[in-house]
């Protein structure tokens, strides 16, 4: 009996030691990706899941600090952009190694840039660097110096390097060899991605300790947001990068400490009218949609404060225009705040020949003003917004029908057949620089949604936007670029080709087990400072299992 008891004690002690030694080896952070990562190659990233993995694993020459929105040295200790904006010279850090032990030099930068700019690669990241005809020249005069020359000036050049994770030119592991804080250790399709701390990561904290602090990150692939929230509540997840307003409101009531509101985000919700020349709309409808007074009248009739309060539980702000106020540098602060003014809307509409008759708005030829607003099905917030807009517009005599369509059908209608009146969608903004929106603002752009792919600008104001956008894209001086883009914002506010509705807040959920979290508006909002996040001891490996 005593022997058995002794054996049990020894076993118990052994288990305690085992747990303890595993605990000392580090800690595991657990959160979700909302889709399958399409690639682990950082050059080919074009989806959110892959983008998050690139952020966690990729080493970049220059990093945009998500909190201050300023540039910070990464693998490059310093850099200089030539006065003509075509050439950038990087001075690289020495003694840096990839996760598999291969050394880092300017050859790796040259290899990455060549691969990035190779048309065969079809890299969305590379497309942002294309400024003109001709090839990009990369010189490596020394192992720690890389010079990149572009055929034409690239506006906001330095910021673009935040997206360029440097690949190893020599490592047999190719893109799996990384310079970022973590490397991909294990991946099970449809289930999870396991990241481990890069033992060769170059950053240290002020005390000289190796960064990052957290040993492993387990990213579960989970599309269902309700299940994700349920698991977070159970303590199985420590972080949710993006939470929708309704879920956030509940979390806020349940445990205010975990609900983290970083203020107005970059994303906007907007609606627009179909002005495409190729559309088969009747002429009178085309005339309405092309009239600035009509678009502005509709805009004024929409109560954005109600949209923010009712649909987003107050976690959104009425949108001023194409740039969110959280984009500190590029936001045009002189724009007037949008106001809800149905009487003003009717006055404006009357100037364009519309009149209110028996509760219905009619145009100058007697056609009743009615149109259909399409949006994507399954997005509850958009469906609610559409229903509220429907009631707002009924107050000025406009009859609006709401139709929700599955996403492929919707895209077909707004990009190919142009068989729609108006559309409500959202704009996800990941880039602070307006150059990221060139295809939206240039009249020849395919994302110039109200009238895309124009051979020549259909209106004078679109021609002016084209000119301003091209000019700002070729300038190296940020202040001059800002002045040009301010004017673009002004024109958009006057003409309302997009009727901006709300900017959603950047909402996330962070468990109290995480120390050092400071969510921000820019993506990845909750784990942008992953290197300095810590987990409380109870969340060490094994303890939560």
């Amino acid at each position: 009996m005593m022997r058995r008891s002794l054996q049990s004690s020894v076993l118990l002690l052994a288990l305690c030691f085992a747990t303890s030694s595993r605990g000392q080896s580090g800690a595991e952070l657990h959160f979700c990706l909302h889709g399958e990562p399409k690639t682990f190659n950082p050059i080919l990233v074009d989806d959110e899941a892959s983008e998050n993995i690139r952020y966690l694993t990729g080493g970049v020459l220059i990093r945009v600090n998500r909190q201050t929105q300023a540039l910070e040295p990464g693998l490059a200790e310093s850099w200089r952009v030539s006065s003509d904006g075509r050439k950038v010279t990087f001075h690289l850090r020495k003694g840096i190694y990839f996760s598999d032990g291969a050394s880092f030099s300017s050859e790796d930068v040259a290899y990455t840039m060549r691969l990035l700019m190779d048309p065969q690669t079809h890299s969305a990241t590379g497309d942002a660097f294309r400024s003109g005809q001709g090839r990009v020249d990369v010189q490596t005069p020394a192992p720690d110096v890389a010079e990149i020359t572009f055929p034409a000036p690239v506006a906001g050049l330095e910021r673009l390097f935040d997206q360029v994770a440097i690949l190893s030119a020599k490592s047999p592991k190719r893109e799996m060899s990384v310079l970022g804080p973590y490397y991909v250790s294990e991946y099970m399709a449809g289930s999870f991605v396991l990241l481990r701390r890069n033992p060769n990561y170059w950053k240290h904290d002020a005390q000289g300790n190796l960064l990052p602090y957290i040993e492993t990150i387990r990213l579960d692939i989970q599309r269902n947001r309700d299940i994700e929230l349920m698991r977070f509540r159970r303590g199985e997840l420590q972080l949710i990068n993006r939470v929708d307003a309704e879920q956030f409101d509940q979390l806020q009531k349940e445990s205010p400490a975990v609900a983290r509101n970083a203020g107005t985000g970059l994303d906007a919700e907007e609606m627009w009218f179909n002005q495409a020349a190729a559309s088969a709309l009747p002429d009178y409808k085309k005339k309405w949609f092309q009239a600035m007074e009509f678009r502005r009248g509709v805009s004024m009739a929409i109560n954005r404060d109600d949209l923010s309060r009712v649909v987003f539980a107050g976690y959104a702000t009425p949108a001023f225009g194409p740039v969110s106020p959280s984009n500190h540098f590029w936001f045009n602060s002189s724009l007037a705040a949008p106001k809800h003014d149905p009487q003003g809307a009717l006055l404006l509409l009357s100037r364009a020949g519309f009149r209110l008759e028996g509760g219905s708005l009619k145009d100058s030829t007697g056609n009743r003003v009615e149109f259909t607003l399409v949006t994507n099905s399954g997005n509850t917030a958009r469906e609610k917004m559409a229903t509220m807009i429907q009631q707002d517009l009924s107050e000025i005599g406009i009859s609006m029908k709401v139709v929700t369509l599955d996403f492929p059908s919707l895209i077909e209608k707004i990009t190919r057949t142009f068989d729609y009146d108006a559309c409500l969608l959202g704009l996800v903004n990941t880039d602070l620089d307006p150059n990221g929106q060139l295809t939206v603002w240039l009249s020849s752009g395919e994302n110039h949604q109200w009238n895309p792919n124009q051979k020549a600008p259909a209106t004078a104001w679109e021609a002016e936007i084209d000119k301003l956008m091209r000019e700002q894209a070729s300038l190296a001086n940020e202040e001059l670029r800002k002045a040009k883009f301010d004017r673009v914002q002004q024109i958009v506010a006057e003409q309302q080709p997009f009727i901006y509705l709300v900017n959603k807040n950047a909402l996330s959920a962070v468990s109290s087990d995480i120390v050092g979290a400071a969510p921000v508006a820019l993506n990845p909002q909750a784990f942008w400072n992953i290197e300095t996040l810590r987990l409380k001891p109870s969340k060490e490996i094994g303890a939560s299992k």
């Binding site: 309700d226 929230l229 349920m230 309704e246 879920q247 509940q250 109600d306 309060r309 009712v310 649909v311 009615e370 149109f371 259909t372 399409v374 099905s377 399954g378 509850t380 469906e383 609610k384 559409a386 229903t387 509220m388 429907q390 009631q391 029908k401 709401v402 139709v403 929700t404 369509l405 599955d406 059908s409 209608k413 068989d419 729609y420 009146d421």
Partner: protein, 270 residues
């Protein structure tokens, strides 16, 4: 309490629910689309008996108007599907041979088509600017036209058994004509099966309509139906915070239970 009493109670409950739907305008004085934006997700009160939805619309009003839409159109769609299933299944089962194989093969083919994709394709053909009423009628007609194959298999199996039954043989031996066989023997014998398929289809069509509204084919906002009211219950966390929003589900349960009781009682009586 006897089965007959149960049946009377169920009929009364259904009658009241139907009456509520039919006379919705007299039962509630709020328009179903009116948004009280200061009161989203309000709990039940004297002003709003079942509280309000996420946009502040009176939930009782929406349930009552939704009852009108769902309780009139779902049975109509179920009736359409059952009639198609009864005709085709009856012919297939009674005649047998190549005709049975052909009808069953077409039912199998129809069942193998993914319903949602068929409906998405149908939606693509419909113009965008149809009114909510046209949309709702189109939805239920489509459901009726596409919802017959599973019922058909049941009816076909039952009528096949009937074809080989002694009493039909006896009727034939007594000189019954085909029409006499059909109306005096086949239809009365298969009636419980037709009824069962009809009752089963009603809640199924109500729920399918809820799914369809996610694809833009269902009842369009702001017109309420049980289907789009039930869509709110997909969000589990919102439901736990606002349990009164489950009232359409409760109503659906009551209706289905009542239909079942009436059906089983009528079977016993028969």
């Amino acid at each position: 309490m006897t089965r007959r009493s149960f049946r009377v109670i169920c009929c009364s409950v259904l009658g009241i629910i139907f009456a509520l739907g039919l006379f919705a305008g007299s039962v509630t004085h709020y328009p179903y689309a009116l948004q009280f934006r200061e009161l989203p997700n309000a709990p039940p009160s004297a002003l709003h008996w079942l509280g309000t939805d996420g946009l502040g619309r009176d939930l009782f009003t929406r349930v009552v108007y939704g009852t009108r839409v769902s309780l009139l159109l779902a049975p109509a769609a179920a009736m359409l599907a059952t009639i198609i299933a009864a005709i085709l299944g009856g012919i297939a089962g009674l005649r047998g041979g190549w005709l049975e194989r052909l009808i069953l093969a077409s039912a199998d083919l129809s069942m193998s088509l993914p319903l949602l994709f068929v409906l998405i394709a149908l939606r693509a053909f419909l113009p965008l600017d149809v009114s909510p009423i046209v949309s709702v009628v189109a939805t239920f007609v489509t459901l009726g036209l596409l919802g017959w194959p599973s019922s058909l298999r049941v009816v076909c199996a039952a009528s096949r058994n009937l074809r080989q039954s002694d009493h039909l043989l006896l009727a034939r031996a007594n000189g019954y004509s085909n029409s006499q066989l059909l109306f005096r023997q086949v239809i009365p014998t298969l009636r419980p099966i037709f009824l069962a398929q009809f009752w089963i289809s009603i809640p199924l069509f109500i729920l399918t309509e809820a799914t369809l509204s996610m694809l833009g084919l269902g009842v369009m906002e702001p017109l309420p139906s049980w289907g789009n009211l039930l869509r709110g219950s997909e969000d589990f966390s919102a439901m736990s915070a606002n349990p009164w929003r489950l009232s359409p589900l409760f109503l659906l349960l009551v209706v289905v239970i009542c239909f079942q009781f009436i059906f089983s009682s009528s079977e016993d009586l028969a």
